[in-house]
């Protein structure tokens, strides 16, 4: 190990970083990381992702800049970056950045490339298509850049080394430039991936600006379809995007430059705005918050007018899962109850609404079963969900941690199996489910059904807003504090007078009610529900959304739902990247593992939660910054100085 131990700790302040020769590396570590990179690259290649996503160009005309190739390129880049990560603890001295990092990055990348080289050689000699479905000529051509084994055997080592070195070189850049580079990269990839969405929305907005009359058409009032006009943004869109998909080369360069420039100039301003917002207190802050909420609301209300049907459908799905995630966030994020059977409440919500609104849900129901309008059924659904919450909650709530997780998992399945069973077939239709669920009718406000995703979006928006409000209020209440205390230390919470059983049950019930809203909307949207809509997978995906977004943080959950459900897709619902559907679960899994290892607090961390998970680092940082109250002198003095 080449860990550096400080020899001189007597000096004040941070010790000087030591510089080392370019080849003075921890080679064992390089070899280890390199082998992992090689394994990951081979795995990705054989998973079919590069091949499947090769049809999506990032920059049109540049053969290797496709999303497919990117899945492979990302590995040496990431490993090159990671190999330069040095843990500096108290009493250790950091190593100076320099050519050493580049050598390490290149070495790791090249080793990673060796993995693909081996694969190429094996592919040219053996046919393992039988167990490995993706062992195909297409993959071979992709890996050899259509140039045969001769190129294939060295090209990936070279690519790996170059990308690894590029990844490592990021460490050498000043933080500001590095950020700009990353922003540039993400902008280009993001714009290319979101092409459909951007094209759609910007196009519609542009058309409406040219011909404002179109706006009324969105309400379904225009009698004859208005003639198509060119969007005012057409020149811009045509400048950035190529007709055949992907960015144009010039467009990509301009985009990157703009993004880089914005990142360099804008960050200070964002920080300043944030600081000024945080510094505000009382009514002024309330005012600013209300303005921001108002703007967001207006944008969200206008959005569906300008996005096409597919995007609206997608937003509606995101909303349905977001609503679930917000509910689960109360249970897992706030109260710390790991409920893996959350889908049960979604199912109860869906089925109750279906039974109460469908004209003929099943043969076994008695004559007097009413057929209610959707909102009427919703009231009953809420009551039912709360009761189910209590019934499932009561037996499991005394358990803790892993035991509770396993038991809730079981209950989640039991509920689904009940709906599936022959025993209750007369009521719930067994595997055939309930199919003739009508649209939700809101009289003058219109109807909500799956054929009009925009209406579903609005309905879901209302309920998400409600769920956010509920989470926000509860978090800052007596109940919310009790939940947090239980999450922190259940026995102590109980000793401090909190009736943990009741309080945890309350979390369960609030979560159940929010999930049942989602189920009710889901059944009106889809028009038919089957037990297969409520697999355990739903629970798990919702949990991943909550974890990836940032447990206990409302903003994080929203971001998590947008990124995961919106981009990758829900359990059965396609996301923005339809091509990814096949690899969705793989990506979910990988993301979850990575997040758990590297960023357990989620994308948008809850300050508390993040502190909890990085306790040691936090304490050390705080100690270094002198924030921890290391002795009592300050308090002592203050008491003595303060007049009695």
């Amino acid at each position: 190990m080449s860990a550096t131990i400080a020899t001189d700790t007597a000096g004040q302040g941070m010790p000087e970083a030591v510089s080392k020769g370019a080849f003075d590396l921890d080679w064992a570590n390089v070899a280890k990381s390199g082998s992992i990179a090689a394994l990951i690259m081979t795995f990705i290649a054989l998973s079919g992702m590069p091949d499947g996503l090769d049809a999506r160009p990032i920059v049109d005309g540049v053969r290797v800049l496709t999303i497919g190739y990117l899945t492979l390129f990302a590995v040496p880049l990431a490993f090159g970056w990671m190999i330069g990560n040095e843990v500096v603890l108290e009493g250790m001295v950091a190593t100076k950045r320099g050519p050493r990092d580049l050598v390490a990055g290149a070495a790791v990348g090249a080793l990673g490339g060796v993995g693909l080289t081996l694969l190429v050689v094996l592919m040219s000699n053996f046919d393992l298509r039988d167990p490995l479905v993706n062992w195909s000529p297409q993959l071979f051509n992709l890996l050899t850049f259509d140039s045969g084994v001769g190129v294939g055997v060295w090209v990936w080592i070279l690519i790996g080394a170059v990308l690894g070195a590029i990844g490592a070189s990021l460490r050498l850049l000043p933080a500001k430039i590095r950020r700009a580079v990353i922003v540039m990269f993400l902008t280009v990839v993001g714009f290319s991936v979101l092409q459909g969405l951007i094209d759609d929305i910007v196009g519609n907005v542009g058309e409406t600006i040219r011909d404002p009359g179109r706006f009324s058409e969105f309400f379904g009032e225009g009698d004859t379809p208005r003639p198509r006009v060119d969007s005012v943004f057409d020149p811009v869109i045509n400048f950035i995007y190529s007709q055949t998909g992907g960015l144009k080369l010039v467009g990509a360069i301009v985009l990157a430059l703009v993004a880089g420039a914005l990142s360099l100039s804008g960050r200070g301003r964002i920080k300043a705005a944030k600081a000024s917002y945080n510094a505000k207190t009382g009514p002024e802050r309330t005012k600013q918050t209300s303005i921001m909420i108002g703007i967001t609301a207006v944008l969200l209300i206008l959005l569906p007018f300008f996005s096409g049907k597919i995007v609206n459908e997608l937003l509606a799905n995101v909303g349905i899962f977001l609503l679930l995630a917000l509910g689960l966030n109360i249970v897992v994020g706030l109260a710390g109850i790991l409920d893996l059977g959350y889908v049960a409440f979604f199912a109860v919500g869906g089925y109750t609404t279906a039974v109460l609104t469908a004209p003929k849900p099943g043969d076994a129901w008695p004559e007097w079963l009413p057929t209610l309008p959707w909102w009427g059924a919703l009231l009953v659904t809420v009551v039912f969900a709360a009761i189910t919450g209590l019934m499932i909650g009561a037996p499991v709530i005394r358990m803790r941690g892993d035991y509770l997780a396993i038991v809730t998992l079981g209950f989640g399945e039991i509920i689904r199996l009940l709906f599936l069973s022959d025993w209750l077939k007369g009521y719930f239709g067994g595997a055939q489910g309930i199919t003739n669920i009508p649209a939700a009718d809101f009289g003058p406000l219109g109807t909500v059904s799956g054929v009009d995703p925009r209406s579903v979006f609005y309905l879901v928006l209302v309920f998400c807003a409600l769920a956010i409000y509920v989470s926000w209020r509860l978090e800052r209440s007596r109940l919310g504090r009790a939940w947090m205390a239980i999450r922190e230390d259940e026995s102590v919470a109980e000793a401090m007078g909190i009736n943990t059983v009741n309080v945890k049950l309350m979390a369960f019930v609030v979560g159940a009610v929010l999930a049942s809203f989602s189920g009710a909307i889901f059944s009106a949207k889809v028009g038919s529900i089957f037990p297969s809509s409520f697999l355990i997978l739903v629970s798990i995906i919702i949990l991943v959304v909550v974890i990836v977004g940032g447990m206990g943080n409302i903003m994080g959950v929203i971001v998590g739902a947008l990124v995961l459900i919106g981009v990758l897709g829900g359990p059965k619902q396609p996301g923005l990247l339809q091509e990814f559907s096949e690899y969705k679960l793989l990506i979910y899994g990988a993301l979850l593992i990575w997040m758990m290892l590297k960023r357990p607090e989620g994308l948008v961390p809850n300050v508390r939660r993040s502190r909890e998970l990085h306790q040691d680092e936090f304490l050390q940082d705080a100690w270094l910054k002198g924030e921890v109250d290391t002795d009592d002198e300050d308090g002592e003095l203050a008491t003595e100085v303060a007049p009695a």
Partner: protein
Amino acid sequence: MSERILDIKNLSVTFGGLHALRDLNFHVDEGEIVGVIGPNGAGKTTFFNMISGMVTPSSGDILFEGKSIIGLDPNQVTQRGISRTFQNVRLFANMTIAENVMVSQHCRTKQGVWGALFNTPGFKKEEKEIREHAEKVLGFFGTRLIGYRLEQPASVLSYANRRRLEIARAMATSPRLLLLDEPVAGMNPKESAELTDLIGKLRSEWGFTIVMIEHDMNVVRDVSDRVVCLDHGETLAQGSFEEVSNNPEVIEAYLGRPLEKKSAS
């Protein structure tokens, strides 16, 4: 004669084959400060765990204000008016200092989901009272735990301040009987002298009856009306500090510890 607030009769507990407490008889009168001493592993913390409902005794009875509290859950015991601190400081480390003390008023307050959702006048009033009570309790320790500290997480506190916050959190449950498990452990002599003072004030100003486990004999001597010595789950001696500390059996139990020197000083 003042009233018996706590009366423990023939209390025993076993963990597997180990008799952590054996046939313990013990009482506390209203307004007393009782010191509990004894060598490590004597069963002192177990004794607290039993009163606070965290461990169920195998036999015997605990009467609090005349009523048995055996079989009650810890939160019910707290509701009745017994509160405790923990020897190994168990704060809600990631909640703020204010929240730590606010949350322990849970059993004295009642607003639920509706109040919170609709921000009812009752909810606002109760929140305000909770907050004010929290600040009042924290203010008992001078300025260390109030002001800018209120919104800091408990994890940034120094060890001594964590102990103080533990006491504050227990105080906020508005108990009548306060159980302090080694309140000055890990404090320097100056800090422990000051806390000894405060423990006296907990009785005179706040009206708490106190049972305190403590190894620091100076503290025990300065503040307790009466001392009980436990060893191997049994009461070795009860009485005034002088009586107990001069008891030959107690001295024997403490052999190797500088009890004689300390008590002589």
